[in-house]
Symmetry: none
Subunit: 132 residues, 4 copies
């Protein structure tokens, strides 16, 4: 059971609106349970690196089914380091991404990059809130 594109687009628009309201410029990525991109946007002026970082945070979040902030403490465990290496850096255990749930199931994740990490997470949360 995976997030639909319609849901992902709704989340992206809500997150973008929230970022704009906060005066922030970010990239926002929504991934499916496998960590693959469903949809993403990079706001005008956001640096190139925000796109892969937003996706990397979302990938980390969905790979564990928890907010990526919760993974920071284990960023240096051998498992995490090897997993990151296997994926050539594309998993990023850093605050700014949240899993997207349908009931008890993780159906995807949203990751944000470009602002302070706690702002990235707030923007992600605003996107998810639009679903309910």
């Amino acid at each position: 059971m995976a997030i639909t594109l319609a849901e992902a687009e709704q989340i992206l628009q809500a997150s973008k609106a929230h970022a704009t309201q906060m005066g922030l410029i970010v990239a926002i990525a929504v991934v499916d349970p496998r960590g693959d991109l469903v949809a993403m946007i990079r706001m005008d002026g956001a640096l190139w690196r925000t796109a892969p970082v937003a996706r990397g945070k979302a990938f980390a979040s969905v790979a564990y089914g928890v907010p990526s902030a919760d993974l920071m403490a284990r960023a240096d465990t051998p498992v995490m380091r090897s997993l990151i290496m296997m994926e050539q850096g594309e998993i990023i255990p850093q605050q700014g991404a949240l899993p997207i749930m349908r009931g008890q199931a993780v159906i995807g994740a949203i990751g944000v990059s470009g602002a302070a990490a706690h702002e990235d997470e707030e923007i992600a949360r605003a996107g998810i809130a639009s679903l309910s």
Copy 2:
């Protein structure tokens, strides 16, 4: 001079509508002149690989400023092969992507993957047509 997110979103929606009308399921990526993602969507049911392939075609198109179909004849030249290797495969010289112009300037490219290559290109063209 790069494509704006608003333009990229408009293109994506038009391409998606055209794909739906054709009964096709694809991923669609819009990149800036450097080949970095500006926005992308993957339609429900499109395989994971369509996302990186759509972006890879767009990257190829924008790197040469021509439709990616025009690059197929030189896919085996030493320059193209090395460039692809340097970019770890992320440049894909295969039909399905078109440069996006503003006057004479290449401001980005759109790449599509998931259908037959000529259908991918038709979907890309429909997206660009929505800009004018």
Copy 3:
């Protein structure tokens, strides 16, 4: 808005003159806002590794819009480590590079390698000073 080649060449010559005055042998790289090379020189006797390191520092500096010295504290954060891995090591968060500004805009960066890190940075600064 990117640095011009004429500006980059002027910076390189000023940095080289400053290095010579200090009795130091270095490589100096100037990159555009995306981190791509605009111009570089490696002084006679500077080891091969100084060339990619100079560019790597400049890439790090421009990717964050700050002196690369400011990035050393976060060299071990998950984001930085993953970004470096994604770029196959070509981003180097170590002192010796400075962003190049035009007004408020980052138009590129200069990176230096071959001397002590603080000397590298001094040589970079001398190059930028020649612009004004």
Copy 4:
């Protein structure tokens, strides 16, 4: 015995002047006998890819001590393909680079990218001609 930076800079300026005279926009790289960069420039408006391609052609030329055009016929030999793979694509056996000689010795190479391959080579030749 390697090319000096002063020689490399003279070659770059002569090649740049020749390209300008031809109305062409290119990147030009000078490497030492090991294939490592000594100096490079990318002219305003030349795409990012011209920088690594110019260097890759120069690397190929100096690795064999012949014009890179002479390597095109063996681009598909197992040795060349493996060598390119070992260097992750950074050796490019395509026209546009020439070895730089001092007497009988190869002291470096110049590679050009951005125009038609035979124009790239002409620009390279103009640079070398300035040395004598």
